[in-house]
């Protein structure tokens, strides 16, 4: 337990709008170990970003409401901290990289200033010292320090994402939340950024929660993986568990949907149907209406978390007792 940086217990988040209650996160529990990269994988609307934003408590409320759950970080429950205490954590001990580098930067400040600002907010140091550290950060992500005084529009997409990463790592956070950090980038640039993130992570021993829908990125980056469907973690395990001993029918479906480079099969096997309407709270398994193996029990009773092998947990009726 002491080597866990973050422990989420039974997190429930709902969005309350005039028309409906949206059940975004439905009882998620997750541990993040020190220095570990954990992948949160799932499709649009599965609740991945909501989980990350709950950790930092930056969900817009209303409409969002964290209904229950605890998030233990650094000996304190983040849910119980005051706004002031949270400000000390945000950007300092926990930092976040947002999906779109084009909108994450302030267009009317220089990139150097934006990094320096983060450093000065959290450290009592002189301006000169902050500038020096900001320059160091820029160099670390592969941008020459001479570009300190340039504005975001003078950078390309990949370079902007490097700036965002430099900003996030400026205070040497214990935990980094990376929300689709490379989705907006081209593959060759994505490869550059991922390699750089891996290097920096090892150098700073930061834990990373990597949110992505790309199983290829997960295979390259993650030690463990949590597969999210309709606001629940349906499968959790090490990367080997998920990729080699795939157990949950949804995860199986995800892998089958991917066009593979190494097979010659001429037809993909998509998961039938669409993602569950998040305003519905079904009595049974949330995946049951799309699941090819669903039984009557699946539709009626919520599935248990089954530990199919040590540390490999599957939320499914059909995997109980086996192995």
């Amino acid at each position: 337990m002491p080597d866990n940086v973050l422990e989420i217990r039974d997190l429930v988040v709902e969005y309350h709008t005039d028309d409906a209650h949206i059940y975004a996160v439905n009882g998620v529990s997750l541990n993040v170990k020190k220095g570990e990269t954990i992948g949160l994988v799932g499709e649009t609307g599965a609740g991945k970003t909501t989980i990350a934003k709950s950790i930092l408590r930056i969900l817009q409320s209303p409409p969002a409401k964290i209904c229950s759950g605890s998030i233990m970080f650094d000996g304190a429950d983040l849910m119980k901290l005051s706004e002031k205490e949270m400000q000390h954590i945000r950007g300092n001990k926990i930092a976040m990289i947002f999906q779109d580098p084009m909108t994450a930067l302030n267009p009317i400040e220089t990139v150097g200033f934006q990094i320096e600002e983060a450093i000065r907010l959290h450290n009592k140091i002189s301006r000169v010292e902050a500038v020096r550290r900001a320059c160091e950060m820029l160099e670390m992500v592969g941008i020459p320090a001479e570009r300190y005084k340039e504005y975001p529009h003078q950078f390309s997409g990949g370079m902007k994402q490097r700036v965002v990463i430099a900003m996030a790592l400026a205070c040497k956070p214990m935990l980094l939340l990376a929300d689709e950090p490379t989705t907006a980038l081209d593959v060759t640039i994505q490869a550059q950024v991922l390699e750089m993130m891996n290097d920096l992570k090892t150098k700073l021993n930061t834990s990373v929660i990597l949110i992505t829908h790309d199983l290829g990125v997960v295979a390259n980056m993650c030690d463990s993986v949590a597969v999210v469907y309709a606001g629940e973690i349906v499968e959790y395990g090490t990367a080997e568990d998920i990729f080699d001993r795939t157990a949950h029918p949804y995860t199986v479906g995800l892998f089958n949907s991917l066009p593979r480079l190494n097979t010659t099969e001429r037809r993909l096997k998509p998961i039938k149907g669409l993602m569950l309407d998040p305003t519905i709270k079904p009595p049974g398994c949330r995946f049951s209406d799309r699941c090819p193996e669903a039984t009557e029990k699946c539709c009626k009773q919520p599935p248990p978390d089954v530990e199919v092998s040590p540390g490999h947990i599957v939320k499914c009726w059909l995997r109980g007792g086996s192995n």
């Binding site: 490869a191 290829g216 295979a219 037809r267 998961i271």
Partner: protein
């Protein structure tokens, strides 16, 4: 019999403030009926412009386009109207390519009404048939785009493209905006339609696993130029151009045991405005020498495998020696 589509030395330049932007620079290829040509490259390499220029959504700067052996480079208005029946496009973003104020039925009927060959009642009947073809339930006929999810919206876009019974469709990143499970459904639909209707596709994408899956031939573009073209299997088994090699190695493979060494490219795309003569990939290429400052010619080092690189025989020999 002439090929369905033949493009000869096609150029599309844009006059910008900074100078002449060479978006498509001297591209030639042929496409047979019922086949698929994949066009891959990073954002900004001109692949979308190529598709749009062939369809005359943009004017040709120079070169020649032949459709069923007939020169259609500079069509008259009437000819263009006729061409629209044969050539259609599916756009990338199903969110912005549909009129938010037209219902599903109206959207699909519109091309039929414009052509004015059928009465309104016949158009409606045809629209319903098309909805059935692309797997849209009849109950959605009066729905508006905002009521539908991305996968269904893309089905509308496909039905609209099919309405006039085209022989050739440009698919401009048709699945990039979709989740993997939905992406697989749409790819299967496109393959089914090709089989039953014999349509030829030009499939423009940056996603290399999708392109391998769907294409007969693949063309790799870099800054407006074709750098390599071969059959899908050949290109993936035997990439010769240094850019293709880097591009293929950068694909994140969803398999944790695949630890092939990535070729990480330095730098990013250079500007396509007033490019210098010679190989445009030169600034990022590890093999570049003075020789590369000469204009590159397309050669055929292996049967039906075209490469624009003066080093290609050298690269091939190196590979043979290491194998």
């Amino acid at each position: 019999m002439p090929p369905l589509l033949e493009v000869k030395n096609l150029k599309k330049y844009f006059n910008t403030k900074g100078g002449m932007l060479h978006a498509v620079d001297d591209i030639s290829f042929t496409l047979d009926a019922g086949k698929t040509l994949g066009v891959v490259g990073e954002s900004g390499c001109g692949k979308t412009t190529l598709g749009r220029t062939i369809l005359h959504l943009l004017d040709v700067t120079s070169g020649q386009i032949l459709f069923e052996g007939k020169d259609i480079t500079y069509p008259k208005k009437k000819e263009l109207m006729k061409l629209r029946e044969d050539m259609q496009i599916i756009f990338q973003d199903p969110y912005s390519s549909l009129d938010p104020r037209q219902s599903v039925k109206e959207t699909i009927m519109e091309p039929l009404l414009i052509q004015g060959k059928l009465s309104k009642a016949e158009c409606e009947k045809k629209a319903k048939e098309l909805m059935d073809t692309v797997g849209l339930a009849a109950r959605f006929e009066n729905a508006y785009p905002h009521e539908l999810d991305g996968g269904r919206r893309q089905r509308i876009g496909i039905a609209r493209a099919l309405a006039l019974g085209p022989k050739f469709i440009v698919c401009d990143e048709p699945v990039s905006a979709l989740d993997v499970s939905i992406q697989a459904q749409i790819i299967n639909l496109l393959l089914d339609l090709q089989e039953s209707l014999g349509i030829a596709y030009m499939f423009v994408t940056h996603d290399l696993s999708v392109v391998k899956y769907i294409s007969n031939d693949i063309m790799v573009m870099y800054l407006g130029q074709m750098v390599e073209k071969a059959s899908s299997d050949e290109l993936f088994a035997n990439p010769i151009h240094p850019y293709t090699q880097a591009l293929l190695s950068a694909i994140p493979i969803p398999d944790i045991h695949n630890k092939t060494k990535r070729i990480i490219l330095k730098g990013e795309l250079t500007s396509p405005i007033n490019p210098k003569p010679g190989c445009r990939f030169r600034p990022r290429c590890i093999y570049a020498t003075e020789e590369c400052e000469q204009p590159q010619v397309l050669t055929e080092p292996l049967p039906n495998h075209f490469v624009a690189c003066c080093k290609c025989s050298e690269l091939l020999n190196n590979r043979r020696n290491t194998q």
